[in-house]
C-alpha cells in the first residue's frame, strides 16, 4: 500500500514537473522569439503603409535569418504557428481536418500517415481542455502547445 502510494506520488510529481518544464519552455519561446511582437499593433493608418507585418530589427521566428539561434527548432516553429494562427488551428481541430491542422502536425514532425490518429487524440484532449473558460490568448496557446507536445510524441517514435 505504501509502495503504491509512493508510486502514485512519484507519477503525479513527475507529471507536474514535466508540465512545468514544458510550460516554461513555451514561455521561453514566447519571450525569446518575440512571439508577442509578431502581432503588430492595430494602428490602421500605419498598417496601411507597412502592411502590418514588417518589423525591421524586431526578432521574428519565421526563419533563421531574423530569429535567434534557439528559435529555429521545430518546437519554436510549432509554438509560433499555434500562437499566431490560434483561431484557425482551433477551428480545424474541432472539425478534425484543415490546412492549419496539417501544417501544425507537419511542423511537429508527424508523417501524413499519422495525421488522422494524432489529430483524433489531440481532438479528444482539446475537448476536455475547453471546459476551462476566460483564459487569455497566451494561456490558450500554451495549453494547446502542451497538448500538441504530448500527442505528437508518437510521431518521433514512428
Amino acid at each position: 500500500m505504501r509502495n503504491s502510494l509512493k508510486l502514485v506520488c512519484m507519477v503525479f510529481l513527475g507529471a507536474s514537473m514535466t508540465s512545468v518544464a514544458q510550460a516554461r519552455e513555451f514561455a521561453d519561446i514566447y519571450t525569446e522569439c518575440g512571439l508577442g511582437a509578431l502581432i503588430a499593433p492595430r494602428n490602421e493608418a500605419v498598417a496601411a503603409v507597412t502592411n502590418v507585418t514588417w518589423d525591421l530589427g524586431t526578432t521574428a521566428i519565421s526563419s533563421d535569418v531574423s530569429s535567434p539561434e534557439n528559435c529555429k527548432g521545430g518546437q519554436a516553429k510549432t509554438a509560433a504557428l499555434i500562437f499566431q494562427a490560434y483561431p484557425s488551428v482551433e477551428t480545424d481541430l474541432a472539425q478534425g481536418q484543415g490546412e492549419h491542422l496539417s501544417a501544425l502536425l507537419n511542423l511537429a514532425g508527424c508523417e501524413e500517415a499519422l495525421h488522422a490518429t494524432v489529430s483524433g487524440a489531440l481532438r479528444t484532449d482539446f475537448g476536455q481542455r475547453l471546459q476551462v473558460s476566460g483564459i487569455t490568448r497566451y494561456d490558450q496557446a500554451q495549453s494547446l502547445y502542451l497538448l500538441v507536445e504530448r500527442n505528437t510524441e508518437v510521431c518521433a517514435d514512428a
Binding site: A45, W54, S66, P87, E90, Q95
Partner: protein, 619 residues
Amino acid sequence: MEYGRIGARFFRPCFVLLMLCMGLWSQQASAMDLARLAREPVWLGLLHFDTESQRGEVTDPRFYLAPNGRQNPLAELQATITALSLPAQSDDETHARCRFPARAMWLDRELSRPLPAVSCPRLEAWVNLAELQSISLMLVSGYFGNPASSFGHSLLRMNTRSASSTRGLLDISVNFGAAVPENEPTVVYVLRGLFGGYVSGFSDRYYYTHDQVYTRTESRDVWEYELVLSPWQQQMLVLHLRELLGMEFQYYFLSKNCSYRQAELLALVLGEDFVTDVSLWYAPVELFQRLHDLDRSAPGHLVKAVRYWPSAQRSLHERFDALPPDMQSRLNQQLRAERFDPNPWAEASAEQQVLALDFLLEYVDYRMAALEGEALEPWQQRKNAVLRQRLAWPPGTAADPPRQARPSPAAGMRTSRIYADFGRSDRGEGVAAIGYTAFHQDLLAQSDLSGSGLVLGDVQLGGGRNGSWALHQFDVLKLDKLAPPLSALAVDLEPAWRLRFGAQRESRRCDECLEWFAEGGWGRSWEVLPNLAFSGLLLGRLGSRGLAPQLGAELNLLYLRRGLGALLRVSRLQDFKFARPSTRVAASLAYPLSGQWAMRLEFEQQADASLSLRLQRSF
C-alpha cells in the same frame, strides 16, 4: 649540345619576355573583362544600382564590400571577387559566398576561373533548393478600410513540393515594407511615407502570417501568380532575396514601394524591363499588368497559373449561399439573436447540425478577426460553445462550396487614362472636353457587383463660353463603395459609402464658377435583381462658394454584366444658408472596346443638361 646552349641563351630571355607580355596582356584583358562585367545589367541589378543617381539604392553599409561600393560597381565587383576568392574555414557563415550567394552564383558563371566552394549551413537551412518547386507573386486586393491601402499589396512566396496539404501556409514568403514606429502620428506618417522618411527592407515570414493578416483580419482577396522560371533564374532569385534580408532601403510609399522592389527582382532574373518610366507612382497592380503583357506573346511562358484565394468574408458568404434556404433562414435568426448556447440545432439531422456548426465556426472566426482586447472575450465564449458542440460530432467537413473565381484586377483596364468627350447641351451648344486621370479603378469596369471605384487626380478641361479651354473638373479623390451584400446572410451588412473631394464648374457656360468641394455619403446597398444593385445614401456637401453646407440624399442604380456597366445617380441637396435645393441627375453607360479602349455615354443635368460620348484609352 653547343646549339642547345646557344639556343638556351637566346630563347630563355625571349621566353621570359613573352611571358611578361602575356602577363601584362592578361592583366589588361582581365581588367577589361571586369570593367565589362561591372556594367552588366545583372551586376547592376544585384547591387540595386540606380543609373540616374549613380549609386546603389541599398543604404545599408553591410551590403557593400568595397568602401566606395555603393557608388562604384567596378570597385564592388573587384572587392567581391577578392572576398569570394579567400579560403574559408569550415562553415564560415561570414564568408562572402554565404553573405552574397547570388553574386557568387553569377560570378561562377561569368568568370573563367573557379571560385572556392564554401559550405553555408544557415543558407541551406533557410531554403531547401531541392524542395523548391516554384515561386509565386501574390497580389493582395486593395483595402477600403483605409484609403491609403486602396492600391493593394504584393509579396513573393517560395512554393515547396510538400505544401499541397497546407496550401503553402508553411512556405517562406518575402515581403517588402517600411519600419514605422509605434503610435506614429498620422500626419507624420503620411509625410514620411511620401518623402522617403522611413527605413525599409525585405523580411521573411511563413506564409500563414500573411494569410492571417490579409485573408482573415483585413478580409482581402489574393491572386497568386505562379511564375515560370528556369532552375537558374529561380535559384538566382531565391539567393538574392537571401542576401537582401535585413538590408536597409529608403521607402517611398508611392514609387519605391513593395511592388517596385519586387519588380526589380523580376527584372534581374528575367532580363525584362519592369520599372523604367516609373516617375511619380508604381501601384502593385502595374507590376502584374506588366506580367500579363509579357506573357501575352506566348501565354503560359512566364505565368504558369493565376489562382484566386478569396478573403475570409467571401468564403463565409459562399458557404452561406451553398446552404439550403431553410437553414439560411434559421441561421439568420440565430445570428441576429446571437444565440449560440444551448445549441439551437440540437433537434436537426446530424448532417444539418454539422453543416450549421461548421458555418458558425467560420462566422465566429470571421467576427473575431477584427476584434482585440476585451471585445474578444464574449466572442471566445460563443466560439467555445460552438466548439464543444462540434467536438461531439465525428471529424470531417462537407466539401467546400464551388468557388467563384474572380478575375485579377491586373487583367482589366490600366490605371491611367486619357479621354475626350463630345456632345451637346440642352441649349444646343456643343460640349467638348479632354481629360487625364492619374489613377483609376473604374466603378463601371468591374467584373462583378463589387461596387468599388477609386479615382485619383482626374483633370478635365472643357470648352468655355468664349471658345477657350478652362478647367471644368478636377477630382483629387473619388471613392465609391456601393457593393450590395455578398449573400443572404443578414448579419454582415456593410455600409455603402462614397467620398469625393475636388473642384467643378457649376455650369459649362460659366467660366468663373469653379467651386472647390468635399462631399460624402453613407447608406445601404441591396442587390434588387441579378447584377443590379440599388443604394440609398445620406449625402453631405461643403462647397467653397459661400461655404454653405448642404445635406440631402442620393439614390444609385448600378448594373454590371459582362463588361457593360451602367449607373444612374439622382441626388438632391438642401442648401441651408440660402434655403435653395438642388437636384442633380447623372447617368453613365460604359462599354469596353478592344484592348485598353472604352466608350462611355454620359448624361448630366444640374444647372444645365448635357449628353456626351466619351472615348477613353487606358495606359
